[in-house]
């Protein structure tokens, strides 16, 4: 009962802040709403007993990622940040079906997950071994190839970001004889 009430509170907070993210006009408020939504989702993970995922949600999303948003936004000139005519309205409408498709996909994955463990066998597994151990065991045995490929993708992304962000290489070439 208590768990349900807390779950409801966190869900309500998550939904309200999500509405805030898309309706608020002030960009810094938007980032604060995003932060609140991320923390609320972490709270939902904690009530569900997925402590590792909750802690990672806090550590990676709520801190590492959202903090970059807040610093980028607070460094953008104010007149630029408040402009709305530069928003990609047409592209937004076009991307709507894709977003809906993603939601349907998430729903399917969720239902498949319920089907795979209808009586909560995975929960017992977690209680025996602990959260971090279960995730580590699965990640480094069954999904090892996928894990390594993802790390490669991240590396490529990082190299790409460095290449795009690095502008001074050209000016050096111009200056040196």
């Amino acid at each position: 009962m208590g768990r349900l009430v807390i779950f409801g509170l966190f869900s309500l907070l998550a939904v309200l802040s999500a509405v805030g993210i898309i309706t608020l006009r002030n960009p810094v408020y938007v980032v604060v709403a995003l932060l609140s939504s991320l923390i609320a989702v972490a709270g939902i993970f904690f009530t569900a007993g997925a402590e590792l995922v909750g802690a990672l949600q806090l550590l990676i999303y709520a801190v590492a990622i959202a903090v970059f948003y807040i610093f980028v936004v607070s460094a953008v000139p104010w007149e630029k940040a408040k402009k709305t005519e530069s928003h990609y309205r047409f592209e937004g409408i076009v991307s709507l079906p894709v977003v809906l498709f993603l939601y349907v996909e998430m729903l399917v994955v969720f239902l498949l997950g319920v089907k795979a463990s209808p009586k909560g066998e995975i929960r017992r597994f977690i209680e025996e071994l602990g959260n971090a151990e279960v995730v580590g065991a699965v990640l480094f045995s069954k999904y090892f190839l996928a894990f390594e490929v993802v790390s490669l993708v991240l590396l490529i992304g990082m190299i790409g970001a460095v290449l795009i962000g690095r502008k001074e290489s050209q000016t050096y070439e111009d200056d040196t004889p």
Binding site: A62, V67, S74, A132
Partner: protein, 349 residues
């Protein structure tokens, strides 16, 4: 149902104790710091209010509360006040995973002196610890002034670098302990008869650097930098609203991070350690209280060490800070992890 109410009562008492410790001791530490600073510089420090200035924190508090409440023009009132909350709440929340001592029995109930023994306690420490950056970012932005904004940008540079470093530094003790729960880390050290400092001196040094950076202490206090930025992100705050920031950043975070260092490297509540042989307890005459005294003593010594550094060292430049983080500290911690992985089987046995 009966045990549910007892659990609730125990949790409430723990919360009250933690809040009392966090805020009460935090306020008292301002006096400790002023005394230590004064004696390092061969001054007497606060002497007038009470015996050797012992009531100075109360006088300071009264002074801060009765000051005029100023608000910068064109500032953002909501975010300005939210920043104060964002500074205070995560810092106090870190206390919920600090284990103060071993399990004991009171009126037939087993009580663990830790608010919530989550099995990912250490991750939570870093998650809440780094949330301090929001307080600084929002305070800097909402003040609508140049100095606070520069300060918050500097603090972000420092925090982002040292957040990575501190996580890798802590990996060493975590590999040796094989768990992420703070309570169990201490239990493992007692089982293995080993304070992890003996095998992880590199990790400890790097951890202390990162603690100084997170607390914004000298040599990493670029976000305050009195001479350049007045007082950094707190310039536009007045009265108790100003007072809360140093209280949280310097004292509450200081105690929690020292306590976590004690948990990770100095065996939590265990007495003095002879590596691989056992423990020697010069405070045996205290009986059941001795573990708690040990924990408080170690935390206090570590906090005193931080104060000592603060009042002796000069300040680094921002580029030196980030360079040491990425070019010295990070490779050191990576080498330390490899070393730990090699010797870990010896410790586990």
């Amino acid at each position: 149902m009966h045990s549910f109410w007892v659990d609730l009562l125990v949790a409430l008492i723990k919360m009250l104790v933690i809040l009392g410790v966090a805020l009460g001791v935090g306020a008292f530490l301002t006096w400790v710091e002023r005394k230590v600073a004064a004696h390092i510089q061969r001054r007497p420090g606060p002497m007038v209010v009470g015996w050797h200035g012992l009531l100075q924190p109360i006088a300071d508090g009264l002074k801060l509360m009765t000051k005029e409440d100023l608000f910068p023009r064109y500032g953002d009132k909501f975010l300005y006040h939210l920043a104060i909350l964002l500074a205070l709440v995560p810092a106090v929340l870190v206390f919920s995973v600090v284990p103060f001592g071993p399990e004991f029995e009171l009126f037939g109930y087993k009580v663990r002196p830790i608010l919530s023994d989550v099995n990912v306690g250490i991750l939570l420490v870093f998650a809440f610890g780094s949330m301090a950056v929001y307080a600084i970012a929002l305070a800097g932005w909402a003040s609508n002034s140049k100095y606070p904004l520069i300060a918050s940008m500097r603090k972000a540079g420092v925090l982002v670098s040292y957040e990575v470093v501190i996580t890798f530094a802590v990996m060493g003790p975590l590999i040796l302990a094989g768990t992420l729960s703070t309570y169990e880390i201490v239990e493992r050290q007692i089982e293995q008869k080993l304070w992890y400092i003996w095998l992880q001196p590199v990790a400890f040094v790097v951890y202390m650097f990162a603690v100084l950076a997170e607390m914004g202490r000298v040599p990493f206090d670029v976000q305050e930098a009195e001479a350049e930025l007045v007082t950094g992100f707190t310039v536009e705050y007045g009265g108790m609203k100003f007072g809360l920031f140093p209280l949280v950043e310097w004292y509450v975070e200081g105690i929690t991070l020292s306590a976590i260092a004690v948990v990770l490297f100095f065996g939590g509540w265990s007495p003095l350690n002879v590596p691989f042989v056992g423990f020697v307890d010069p405070l045996f005459f205290l009986g059941g209280l001795s573990p708690f005294v040990w924990f408080v003593l170690k935390t206090a010594l570590l906090f005193g060490f931080i104060l000592w550094l603060h009042w002796t060292l000069p300040r680094y430049r921002i580029d030196q800070i980030t360079q040491t983080a990425w070019k010295v500290m990070l490779p050191l911690t990576l080498a330390n992890i490899v070393f730990t992985a090699l010797i870990a089987p010896l410790v586990w046995r």
